[in-house]
């Protein structure tokens, strides 16, 4: 008798299990189809394309590592890599540093502070196209508003901003900082709010000054968040495309061309998809390494806790 009951219960449990597996797969199916077809498969296919001379035509041949070898002598690609690294480096330094300073100052409860925060996030909610258009106008050498103000201030040799190979990239970096400061602030503020207030209270009892408190409490406590902000901004900076495509088209000369701009140009203007895929693989490699570093440090951080 007891055996029968146990057997019965066993089938009931496995029926529930089977039902669970079935519902799980059925509910996942719609998403999985899109995800497999348009995220996972293209990543694999991109590697394969990078070893061919694919050009959207019906046939393509395997060319081995030829595309990759060609990268080393492609001065456009090398310039784009250099520009992207410079762009990422300076964007990240200012975004992480300035972002932290501002967040510490705005880590208060008052109506003014709340309004200031909203203003700071506004550029982040605006599209990069819109941002580029406004700055294109501000920086225009003849009709632009900034040069008009400079004339008023008595500046005689006016900068030509985006038309100047020396100033074009720094201008783009500045605009990127202007746009993404709000994002850094959101992340930093949530990190700051997680610092136990007892630490500050204890330091205040010890008579530590505000600056002193920030250096010996805020900085070490916020370090993991700082690193997160640093890496995510770096990854974003390596994907820069819209700004360059709209504002400078990569010029003057090679001064503002970026890696993604090169992928776009080779693929959709020259139709050298195979070669462009090789550039995309390099970009993926760089971003992959940064992501892994970020994950490892995140894991260590959560194990410490």
């Amino acid at each position: 008798m007891s055996r029968i009951v146990r057997g019965h219960r066993h089938t009931a449990v496995s029926n529930v299990r089977r039902g669970e597996t079935l519902s799980a797969w059925l509910m996942l199916l719609p998403f999985l189809i899109f995800f497999a077809l348009f995220v996972i498969y293209p990543l694999v296919q991109n590697f394969i394309y990078s070893l061919t001379n694919y050009n959207f035509g019906p046939k393509h041949d395997f060319v081995g590592l030829k595309n990759y070898i060609q990268l080393f002598s492609d001065e456009w690609f090398l310039a784009s890599l250099k520009n992207t690294v410079v762009y990422a480096f300076f964007s990240v330094i200012f975004l992480t540093g300035l972002g932290l300073v501002i967040s510490v100052m705005l880590n208060k409860r008052s109506r003014m502070v709340k309004a200031a925060r909203t203003v700071l996030i506004l550029p982040y909610a605006t599209s990069m196209v819109a941002v580029s258009m406004v700055w294109l106008f501000l920086l225009d050498p003849t009709t632009g508003y900034i040069n008009k103000l400079l004339i008023e201030l008595g500046v005689s040799t006016l900068p030509t901003w985006l038309n100047d190979p020396e100033l074009a990239l720094p201008s783009l970096i500045f605009i990127n900082i202007w746009k993404n400061l709000g994002y850094c602030m959101i992340i930093y503020l949530s990190g700051l709010q997680n610092i136990p207030t007892e630490l500050y209270e204890a330091a205040e009892v010890d008579g530590a000054s505000t600056l002193r408190r920030h250096i010996s409490i805020t900085l070490p406590q916020i370090a993991p968040v700082t690193f997160f902000v640093l890496i995510t901004n770096c990854i974003e900076a390596f994907k820069t495309f819209e700004q360059v495509q709209i504002m400078t088209q990569g010029g003057p000369m090679t001064s503002t061309t970026t890696v993604v701009l090169q992928i776009y140009r080779r693929a959709f203007e020259d139709f050298r998809m195979g070669y462009a895929s090789a550039i995309a693989v390099v970009l993926f490699g760089i971003i992959f390494i940064m992501t892994v570093i970020n994950l490892l440090l995140f894991k260590r951080r959560s194990e410490d806790k």
Binding site: G19, E20, S23, L26, M27, P30, F31, L32, F34, F35, L37, F38, V39, I40, Y41, P42, L43, Q45, N46, Y49, F56, M105, L106, T118, V119, L120, I121, L122, A125, T126, S127, M128, V129, A130, V131, M133, V134, F137, D140, Y145, I151, E152, W178, L181, I186, I187, T210, F228, F241, E242, I246, I263, F268, M273, A276, A280, L283, I287, K299, R301
Partner: protein
């Protein structure tokens, strides 16, 4: 002495905040005021920010430069479809990963986390070629050859936006914090998994669905690269692509460009200001991934 130093520090930090707020607002102010100027005012060396007479008709002229009705329709249509489909399939998958057990669950979840880190710029070429070779679409044969597939169609514009795995992760993180007793109670009442999801998780998950909706809305409306690659000609242009029409004129009519830019951005800025909490929560949950 110490006290006056303290006050000085306070004044300096408020000054810095005021400076940064001004620097952030300045381009927005320029965008607004210059959208109301005439071109002769813009060409003149006069540095005043305010227009002599507000030329509101610039907005009308801007909207008549090209088929803006069509552009706004395209962007709205694509964005609405992306938000609706994403909400449905992402919340469903998020629930599965939060509550159900099945084989390969952990493997799939790692894949979905990894998927969030694959930049669309890297997979752009194969995705375009896939969209081009959808069988029996756009003059293609059964093997996906010969025509243009879903290039320059709404489906082509929409599909890559709903394939991203960010929303699944976002919903999973939220649902996993629900007490398991909810499921047990529902099971005892004879609810299937799908019923449990529909009648318990969805209503209780409103905050995360709002976050996902706001982020997806802003992301799709603001997107430039994908529509640039996938659309041809005027009829399928989204508002972001259409803005660049003004850029390509021989003399840029800045007043019209600023007016159009303002109208295109106002949509997202308004949504963002009214749903700031959801926007921020979404970014934060998404960023915990590390």
């Amino acid at each position: 002495m110490k006290k006056s130093l303290h006050i000085l520090g306070k004044v300096l930090s408020w000054l810095l905040i005021a400076l940064i707020v001004a620097a952030i607002l300045f381009p927005f102010a320029v965008m607004f005021f210059f959208s109301l100027k005439t071109m002769s005012e813009i060409r003149s060396p006069d540095p005043s920010l305010l227009p002599d007479v507000a030329a509101w008709e610039n907005y009308k002229i801007a909207l008549q430069t090209g088929s803006w009705g069509q552009y706004f329709f395209n962007s709205t249509f694509v964005t609405v479809i992306v938000v609706v489909i994403s909400l449905i399939i992402n919340s469903m998958s998020g629930y599965v990963f939060a509550r159900l057990n099945f084989r390969f669950k952990n493997f799939l979840f790692v894949l979905i986390l990894a998927g969030m880190m694959i930049p669309p710029q890297v997979t752009m070429i194969p995705v375009v070629s896939l969209i081009r070779s959808v069988p029996l679409a756009g003059g293609n044969d059964i093997l996906g050859q010969g025509g243009s597939g879903l290039i320059n169609t709404y489906s082509g514009l929409i599909i890559p936006f709903i394939a991203g795995s960010f929303g699944v992760f976002l919903c999973r993180q939220y649902f996993v914090s629900f007490p398991r007793e909810l499921d047990d109670a529902a099971l005892i009442d004879g609810c299937g998994r799908f019923r449990t999801f529909i009648s318990i998780y969805l209503p209780l998950g409103k905050p995360v669905l709002a976050s996902l909706a706001v982020l997806k809305f802003a992301g799709t409306w603001n997107e430039y690269t994908w529509p640039l690659v996938i659309t041809q000609g005027d009829a399928m242009k989204t508002v972001q692509i259409a803005l660049t029409n003004f850029r390509n004129e021989s003399e840029i009519r800045w007043n019209l460009l600023m007016a159009a830019t303002l109208m295109v951005s106002a949509v997202v800025c308004l949504v963002f200001i009214f749903a700031q909490k959801h926007f921020v929560n979404g970014i934060l949950t998404g960023s915990i991934k590390g």
